[in-house]
């Protein structure tokens, strides 16, 4: 068996009070994919940041190809041949795709200046490798969707043709189709002999891809297994320390009266002629590829980008929604897809974030009723099982999944009648995912009308009463629960078949 | 034509063209007086001088004069302190602080005659002797004001030299500091009146602002030269910053001789141009003397030798100085520096 190219032993790391990692040992060999698994807040990203030279471990040692290393900065890590795709994307909004990919190691001319021609060509090649021929290398990152930024981030890591490639939830932002393409890329790299550390909450990927899997729980090392030798149930057991009842527990609740009705809704050229009706107690799923305009649709209903045509009716009464505040007061809540940017005020505390959308309600005559605010925050904190020091911890310091829980909690706190969720379980561990799904159906059970945008087909199919499929800003197909099976929906998404299919 | 831009709207009093001094109607003392000031006769004085701003040649000169006088008088300690920009608010704060610190006398050159009045009155109320120089305040806010030269006197000197150097029908422009600076505004107004009266054919083109900034002054003057070409025959510099800068502009434009530069300025800054014959005459009282006189007047007031109603005061090497309109002391006629005498001055 080949020597590990990267080996860590007894790594420990704590932040102030939080012991994020303790006694973690981990190694990865050339030509293998080593999956890293654990609940939200288990310490995966922290471990990766240690490998990337962003955090210095408090204890433990790290070896690359057998020799002891100390990464004082990401620079050292890169020099040692370690490339990282981080969970929260680290890109430069005002630089072009090509520049982002090659920042710091751009191809040079003989004069030692940047060779723009070659840089753009190289970027082109890398993106084609990722099957994104449509992504323009001269486009500003700022104007790209989450998914495309993810692609750029990966291309960036590939561009350093590293010996060790670390990927922290690379497929979180990708639709299944895109995810599958990415997996092919990863396999190709593996076969080239690159050692790959792969973090994901998607069990399917773990089994499809990895040779070995290491599980963390609450920052502690639980164990390493050969993927071949363990079952999904077993892994979940290791992760959460208990077994989880099945996912997607959509309990059938009586569908009530129409709550939200949308007729011929359009926004510029990104959303065209969207019509649907959402009933109380119903979960309406929207499937589609990246760029299909699902988020834009949500933004339009929520008043961020007010509709340029069509009408919106609440309880049959037409309403003109021109601002999020208005939408909120009408009982519409939107859990955005970009958690860090749109969902949370990361420098502020959990409590402050939880009360941001209900300032009006927790304030008496403009004055914030702090007692009320605190109790509210404590309730939500408990109800959503957020893993953190307490409601006064800064959201910035929470793990991805826990951040998502805070966003959810914040919007549920507004007691909405219509809840729009954009990628509600993106980057969330199986346990939390189950909790959130359970919560969704509980809310639906209480008569809440839920519009769920998800790029994860199983989720859409599992949770939805009905499914809309969008492509190019239009609704291209509608299915009801029974009519919706992965094949036809997938086909409709890619537009290859289906069209206005069943129902 | 209408009043020149930059002049104020106070009544003007142009002198006679032939220079026969205007009959000065003697006015009763209209200055203020400190309330129960201690007897300072012959006692050591602690004096502060707060000019409009520090860090420009002109007030360095006045401050030098004050220091000289203080040294001559012996038992006076004088120091100059003030804002770095001609800013009334800061000047008030400075004076206020010195009132608190308990000086015996305050010398000032006001950025604004009215705005500075309240704090000066406060000083008088605190029994401090207050004497102004260069830029006056409301009379009742101080005891005496040492007047370097009457506004109409300066105006006459400037306009006469301009007409002499560039011709009776010359077109000319003015470079001033800012339109809100009281002295400059007064001079411009008086010049307008005097020109209308004695040199009706002089053609005023325009007035430009240039702060107390010599590069800006240079650029403004250059722009004027470019704009009017040969039509421009003269430039009047209203400040010790604007005048040398204008001279420089004329020099660099190669217009020496064809554009006359007349203005208020300190000799040192003007020497290069006067020696190069680019500037024939610089109008200015001697600011060192101005400060010197102010210091002597303050001493005299403190000693009680200069009392309301006095008609003259002794000012060391300057001899007897006349008291004019009520509570002002006239330094004398403005001084005209020329190639011959400018070498003898260093300030």
């Amino acid at each position: 068996m080949t020597e590990p190219i990267l080996a860590l032993s007894d790594i420990a790391k704590s932040f102030g009070g939080v012991q994020a990692l303790k006694g973690v040992s981990f190694d990865v060999r050339p030509g293998e994919v080593h999956a890293l698994l654990g609940e939200n807040g288990a310490g995966k990203s922290t471990l990766i940041k240690v490998i990337a030279g962003i955090h210095r471990p408090d204890a433990g040692e790290m070896r690359v190809a057998g020799d002891r290393v100390h990464f004082a900065s990401p620079r050292d890590a890169a020099a040692a041949g370690v490339a990282v795709v981080h969970q929260e994307l680290l890109l430069f909004p005002d630089l072009t795709v090509a520049e982002n990919i090659f920042l710091g190691h751009a191809p040079r001319t003989r004069l030692g200046t940047i060779d723009w021609g070659r840089m753009r060509a190289e970027a082109r090649r890398l993106l084609d490798e990722l099957d994104s021929p449509d992504l323009d290398v001269d486009r500003r990152i700022g104007s790209l969707s989450v998914a495309n930024r993810q692609r750029v981030e990966i291309a960036k890591a590939l561009s350093q043709n590293a010996r060790v490639l670390v990927m922290d939830e690379p497929t979180a932002a990708l639709s299944d189709a895109d995810a599958r393409r990415l997996l092919d890329v990863v396999r190709r790299l593996r076969d080239r002999g690159v050692a790959i550390v792969y973090v994901s909450h998607r069990m399917a990927e773990i089994f499809a891809l990895s040779n070995r899997v290491t599980v963390l729980r609450d920052g502690a090392y639980v164990g390493t297994r050969d993927t071949a030798a363990i079952t999904e149930a077993g892994l979940v057991e290791m992760m959460v320390g208990r077994s989880i009842d099945q996912l997607f527990p959509k309990t059938d609740v009586p569908i009530g009266a129409p709550v939200l009705e949308v007729r011929g809704l359009s926004y510029r050229d990104v959303v065209t002629d969207i019509s649907f009706t959402l009933h109380a107690g119903e979960i309406l799923g929207i499937a589609g590829l990246v760029g299909s305009g699902r988020t834009e649709t949500a933004l339009t209903i929520f008043g961020i980008t007010p509709a340029t045509a069509g009408e919106i009716l609440l309880d049959g009464k037409p309403v003109a929604i021109t601002s999020p505040g208005q939408a909120r007061d009408l009982g519409i809540a939107y859990v955005p897809e970009d958690r860090g940017q749109q969902g949370l005020v990361r420098p502020q505390t959990i409590r402050e974030n939880l009360s941001l959308a209900i300032l009006g309600r927790i304030a008496r005559g403009g004055f914030i009723d702090t007692a009320r605010e605190k109790s509210l925050a404590h309730d939500l904190f408990a109800r959503f099982g957020v893993r953190a020091r307490g409601i006064e911890q800064r959201v910035r310091q929470l793990s991805g999944g826990n951040q998502q829980k805070v966003v959810l909690a914040k919007w549920v706190a507004t007691e909405p009648r219509v809840l729009i969720m954009d990628e509600p379980t993106r980057g969330i561990d199986v346990g939390a995912k189950a909790e959130i799904h359970a919560l969704m159906s509980r809310l639906a059970g209480q008569g809440l009308a839920i519009l769920m945008i998800s790029s994860e087909l199983p989720e859409v199919l599992g949770m939805s009463d009905r499914v809309l499929v969008m492509s190019g800003g239009r609704i291209v197909a509608r299915f009801d629960r029974d009519g919706a099976d992965p094949k036809v929906v997938g086909a409709a998404m890619t537009g290859s078949a289906g069209g206005e299919a069943a129902a | 034509q209408s009043a020149w831009t930059g002049g104020d709207d106070l009544p003007t009093n142009p002198l006679a063209c032939d220079g026969t001094p205007a009959a000065v109607a003697s006015k009763p003392y209209d200055g203020g007086s400190p309330t129960n000031a201690p007897d300072r006769k012959g006692k050591p004085l602690n004096v502060v001088d707060v000019p409009k701003l520090i860090g420009i040649g002109y007030f360095n000169a006045t401050s030098k004069g004050i220091a000289d006088a203080a040294a001559e008088l012996g038992n006076v300690t004088a120091k100059t302190d003030g804002p770095t920009q001609a800013n009334i608010d800061q000047q008030i704060s400075f004076i206020d602080n010195y009132i608190t610190s308990g000086v015996d006398g305050i010398l000032f050159a006001a950025n604004d005659p009215v705005a500075i009045a309240p704090v000066l009155k406060k000083a008088l109320a605190a029994g401090i002797n207050v004497v102004g120089y260069d830029a006056n305040s409301q009379p009742d806010a101080r005891q005496w004001f040492v007047n370097q030269a009457e506004f109409n006197g300066i105006a006459k000197a400037m306009i006469d030299s301009l007409a002499k150097e560039s011709g009776e029908d010359a077109s000319f422009a003015i470079v001033t500091s800012t339109f809100t600076t009281p002295n400059q505004a007064r001079w411009i107004a008086e010049m307008g009146a005097y020109a209308a009266k004695c040199h009706p054919n002089l053609k005023w083109l325009e007035t430009v602002e240039a702060q107390e900034d010599n590069v800006l002054s240079f650029n403004q003057a250059t722009t004027l030269i470019n704009k009017y070409g040969d039509e421009l025959k003269g430039i009047l510099g209203m400040t010790s910053v604007a005048t040398p800068a204008s001279a420089e502009a004329v020099t660099q434009a190669g217009k020496c001789g064809s554009i006359a530069v007349v203005g208020l300025a300190t000799p040192n800054a003007m020497k290069p141009y006067v020696e190069k014959d680019c500037v024939k005459s610089v109008v200015l009282w001697n600011p060192v003397d101005l400060g010197y006189a102010a210091m002597y007047v303050l001493r005299a007031v403190a000693d009680g030798t200069l009392e309301p109603g006095a008609t003259s005061v002794k000012a060391g090497k300057l001899g007897e100085l006349q008291v004019i309109n009520g509570s002002e002391i006239l330094l004398g006629a403005p001084f005209v520096f020329t190639k011959e005498n400018i070498g003898n001055f260093d300030f």
Partner: protein, 326 residues
């Protein structure tokens, strides 16, 4: 892939990239040309060689300072002490010149000192984590007060022959213009094509990401300020050698002029975008505006109001353009 992506390839036509990449520069250039034509027709002397000279040469030092300022702003920082530093360095230069030192020393010293001082500022920003506006606000007072305490505001006169580099000419073109043009082009080229140039943009765009991509942020910040110091030094020499005398006070509001030139020139105050060409053009535009208003006989009382309006107009034009790009 999706419809959203369809228009993408079309977007990368060379012209498109020029417009979106140098839009603001083009707008300002157009503004300058328009201004010249209009005022030139109104009063031909405006276009006279001597007037153009005074517009360009007389304000070159602002443009040169704006180059460094732009880099600082692009890196996500700002320098409000630039005016005071120019004042101090100018006096330093003059003092050395009259102090009998060789003229090249009088020219080089400000540049060196400028680099050192601003490197210090950069160090405080980068290593002590003090926001640049705080450090430079402090420097502003320190330099301003210090200058007066030291010089007591005494003017520097009797400068030696051959010192006045700003009054020299090469092929009939004033030296300051040469400095302005050459430095701008060099800086622009360097900003676009050198690794470090891009680093500056990266740091301004997303420091966290820059660190994660292995950029040594601290050193880079110090370097940016040091380079800024270099340009400030040159600006100071041009400033000092314009006239026969040097005023020992800091030029009033110069920092605002320089910053305005940079930001109106298209440098995003949020960091990460902009070019030094824009700032130089903006500096020229403002000089031209200032001069043209006199030529157009705008009432001296209303001059600054009109100036303000024009600045606002330029800014709004830029914003309108950006929204169209979006």
């Amino acid at each position: 892939m999706s419809a959203a992506a369809a228009p993408v390839p079309a977007r990368s036509s060379a012209l498109r990239r020029l417009v979106s990449g140098y839009g603001q520069e083009l707008i300002i250039l157009a503004a300058i040309v328009a201004l010249m034509i209009v005022v030139g027709l109104y009063n031909p002397r405006f276009m006279s060689q001597s007037n153009l000279t005074s517009i360009f040469a007389g304000n070159a030092y602002i443009a040169v300072a704006a180059i460094g300022m732009s880099m600082v702003i692009i890196s996500g920082n700002i320098d409000v002490a630039v005016g005071s530093l120019i004042g101090v360095l100018a006096v330093l230069s003059g003092t050395l010149a009259v102090g009998g030192y060789p003229i090249w020393v009088a020219w080089a010293a400000p540049v060196v000192v400028g680099i050192l001082v601003n490197a210090g500022v950069g160090a405080l920003v980068a290593y002590a984590r003090i926001p640049s506006i705080v450090v430079t606000l402090g420097m502003l007072s320190i330099l301003k007060g210090g200058l007066i305490s030291v010089t007591a505001g005494a003017w520097i006169t009797g400068l030696p022959e051959g010192y006045a580099i700003a009054q020299a000419r090469l092929f009939g073109v004033p030296a300051p213009v040469w400095f302005m043009v050459v430095l701008t082009i060099a800086a622009a080229w360097w900003m676009r094509n050198s690794g470090f140039g891009r680093t500056i943009y990266a740091i301004g765009g997303n420091p966290e990401a820059a660190r994660a991509s292995g950029i040594r942020i601290e050193r880079s910040i110090v370097a940016v300020f040091a380079i800024h110091g270099f340009f400030v030094g040159i600006a100071a020499v041009l400033f000092a050698t314009q006239l026969q005398v040097i005023q020992s006070t800091v030029p009033p509001n110069l920092e605002l002029t320089v910053i305005t030139a940079s930001v109106v020139g298209g440098v995003s105050i949020l960091g990460g975008t902009g070019t030094v060409i824009g700032s130089t053009l903006a500096a020229i535009l403002f000089a031209a505006i200032g001069s043209s208003l006199i030529f157009l006989n705008v009432s001296a009382y209303w001059l600054r109001a009109v100036q303000g309006l024009l600045i606002l107009a330029t800014v709004l034009a830029d914003m309108a353009r950006r929204h169209r790009i979006r």
